[in-house]
Structures are given as structure tokens and as C-alpha cells.
Amino acid sequence: MKKTQLLKGVLEGCVLLIIQEKEVYGYELVQQLKLSGFTDIVGGTVYPLLQKLEKNELTTSVKKPSKDGPDRKYYQITSKGKEYCQEFIQNWQELEASVHNLIDKGGKEL
């Protein structure tokens, strides 16, 4: 099974969790994901995702001056985004527990 497929639904929540921690720009976000262990992530995956988050009003963006060159687009979380994060964490924990149960069960029967 391809890891990317499994990752697809989860990545949105993970990106949001990073943005909740602190406002970031695109490259920073990709670096954060990599540092968190998502080493296969490429920048390209992130841009459509950021568009969707903004479209769904889970994030907003502001232009802020950067030390070199024109203003950079920073992403910030909205209150709707914070709610989404809570739901995501809860859903993930439930899912993780269920998957864990199955894996443990399978392990015992082997």
C-alpha cells in the first residue's frame, strides 16, 4: 500500500496543527513537517492543501515583510481552524486506538 494515500487525509490536520503552533510561510511549513518525521513530503503537496485550508476558512494569510525580497505570505489559524484541530485530534485518537486494537489482535493470533 502506498504511504501517500494513507497520508492524504491526515496531512491536512497535521498542517493545521503546525499553523496553530505558530504562523508560518510555505517553506517553513514544509521544514516543520520534515522535522516532525514526514520526511517524504515535498513542497508541491503543500500548496494545494494550503489553498483548500484557506478556502474553507480554517486559515487566513497575511503578507509580512521578509528580510530578503518582497513580502512573504504567512498563514494563520482561524477560530474555525482551532475547532477543526480539536476534532482532528479526537478523531485521530479514536482511529489510532481502533487500528491499534486490530494490530494487537492480529499480533496475538499469529
Binding site: Y25, G26, Y27, V30, V42, G43, G44, T45, Y47, P48, Q51, K52, K55, S66, G69, P70, R72, K73
Partner: protein, 278 residues
């Protein structure tokens, strides 16, 4: 300068910071996304392009290549980004307006000999659709070739461009023979002259305030537009009108028009090819 124009300018300057390999990779994405923008919100696309460029420069500073940063599937990602960009009808209308203006001039050309200027509405619509389709086909030929590894396809590209161009002109010229006169509206010559001149000035002004990259492409229509204005004036005064309708005059007019079209084609082709540089 509009926000969009400013972003294009910043993009042009920033792009120089990429090394050759990274720049080539980024410019494929740039051309691909810009060619798709005729109905999509231009400002949104430019903002995304600039953001990606800034991030790619940061990646380059950290020793990563653009490909390593952005991934192996730039076309798929560009498609996905574009699908998320909202449609901006105003941007689309602006381009349609320009095509419409050009169509009017082609319509004027088809009726030079009459005492009155006649606008055939149906013919105007046919011209409009034909020119619009020609432009869209040319842009999609270009778009298709953007992410191709083999650059040898450019011969086929030129051939397709030529065929589209010939087809467009063919339909434009032939349409006057097939369309009924029932759709014609007659205008006094004086009014037609004023309208023609104002429209030509309007189109010229519009072309010159376009962003640099697009300006060259659209300016390729200017020689032929002003040739029509000149013809309209020559046709207005009895002395020059007689000459235009003599066989000598007709040969000169047709030669002039063909020359104008060739100039239009050459500049247009060159401009589309150079769009990524400016």
C-alpha cells in the same frame, strides 16, 4: 501599477536568484500556470507563483534543488493549484473585449467599397468566435508542450500554429461570402470613421498598459488595426477611394493586409515563445 503587475515584476526580479537548473524547472511551472489564466483569477495565480518562487529560493539557499523541494510531479501539482483558483469573470471579459475589438476591425475590412459602412452583426459574431477560438487553440498547443521532456516537438508546434493561423484567416475571409446581408446595419461614413479611430486608439492604449509579457503578443495586432484605420480614411475621400477601388489599388491593399497578417503572426509567435522571459 496594479497588484498583479507588481507581483509579475517582483517575480521577474526574484527569478534571477535561482540557478540555471532551478530556474528552468520553475519557469515550466510559471508558463504552464500563466497560460491557463484567461478565465482564472490572475492575481491569485501570480500570488501563488510568487509564493512558490520565494520558497524555492529558500530551499536553494538550504542546498536543495527546486525539483527536490517541489517534487517529481510539477504538472499534476500545477493542475491541482489551478483547480483551486477561483474563476474571475472580469479578467476573462477583459480579454474577450480585446478579441471583440479586433473582430470589429476584421468586419470593417470586408466592406470597403460601399458608400456606407456596413456592420454585419452575424459576421461580427463569427469573427469574434473565430479569433477567440484561434487564440485559445494557440494557447493550448503551447500549454500542452510545456512539460514535455522532448523539445523536438517544436517543429510540430510551428506547424500547428501555422495551421491554426491559416484556418482562422481562411474562415475570416470566407465568412463574408456565406453570411446573409439581412444582418447588416448601415452606418454613415463619418460616424464609422470616428468609431474606427476611437476604437483603434482604445485598443492601442489598452495594449500599452498591459503587463510587459503580454504586451508584445497583443501589440502584434496593432499594425493591421492601424492599416484598417488608414484604409477607412482612404476610402472616405473620393480621390483616394477611386484609387483603392482600381485594380492597382486593390493589389496594394491586399498586399498590405497580407503583410500585416504576416507581421502579426511572426510577432505573435515570437511573443508567446518569449512570454517566460519578460
Amino acid at each position: 501599477m496594479t497588484k498583479t503587475q507588481e507581483m509579475i515584476k517582483q517575480n521577474n526580479e526574484l527569478r534571477e536568484q535561482l540557478n540555471t537548473e532551478n530556474k528552468a524547472y520553475y519557469e515550466e511551472i510559471l508558463i504552464y500556470m500563466r497560460l491557463r489564466n484567461w478565465l482564472k483569477d490572475e492575481e491569485d495565480i501570480e500570488s501563488k507563483l510568487l509564493e512558490i518562487l520565494q520558497d524555492m529560493i529558500s530551499a536553494q539557499e538550504d542546498g536543495m534543488s527546486a525539483k527536490e523541494y517541489f517534487g517529481q510531479e510539477p504538472k499534476e501539482i500545477a493542475d491541482e493549484i489551478l483547480s483551486n483558483v477561483p474563476i474571475n469573470w472580469l479578467d476573462g471579459l477583459k480579454i474577450l473585449g480585446l478579441v471583440f475589438g479586433i473582430s470589429i476591425f476584421f468586419s470593417i475590412l470586408s466592406d470597403l467599397s460601399a458608400d456606407q459602412y456596413k456592420f454585419n452583426l452575424l459576421q461580427l459574431i463569427v469573427h469574434f468566435v473565430t479569433i477567440g477560438a484561434g487564440v485559445i487553440i494557440c494557447l493550448s498547443i503551447l500549454k500542452k508542450s510545456t512539460f514535455e521532456k522532448e523539445k523536438s516537438s517544436s517543429k510540430l508546434e510551428i506547424l500547428l500554429f501555422g495551421a491554426t493561423f491559416a484556418g482562422t484567416i481562411g474562415i475570416l475571409l470566407a465568412s463574408s461570402y456565406f453570411i446573409s446581408d439581412a444582418w447588416t446595419i448601415a452606418l454613415p461614413k463619418e460616424i464609422a470613421l470616428v468609431v474606427t479611430t476611437l476604437a483603434a486608439l482604445g485598443v492601442t492604449w489598452k495594449v500599452f498598459i498591459l503587463p510587459k509579457g503580454e504586451r508584445l503578443l497583443w501589440s502584434s495586432f496593432l499594425p493591421i488595426i492601424w492599416l484598417f484605420v488608414l484604409l477607412a480614411f482612404l476610402n472616405y475621400f473620393p480621390a483616394s477611394s477611386d484609387w483603392i477601388q482600381s485594380s492597382n489599388g486593390k493589389v496594394v491593399v491586399v498586399t498590405g493586409v497580407i503583410l500585416g497578417l504576416i507581421i502579426n503572426y511572426l510577432i505573435g509567435f515570437y511573443a508567446i515563445k518569449k512570454m517566460d522571459v519578460d
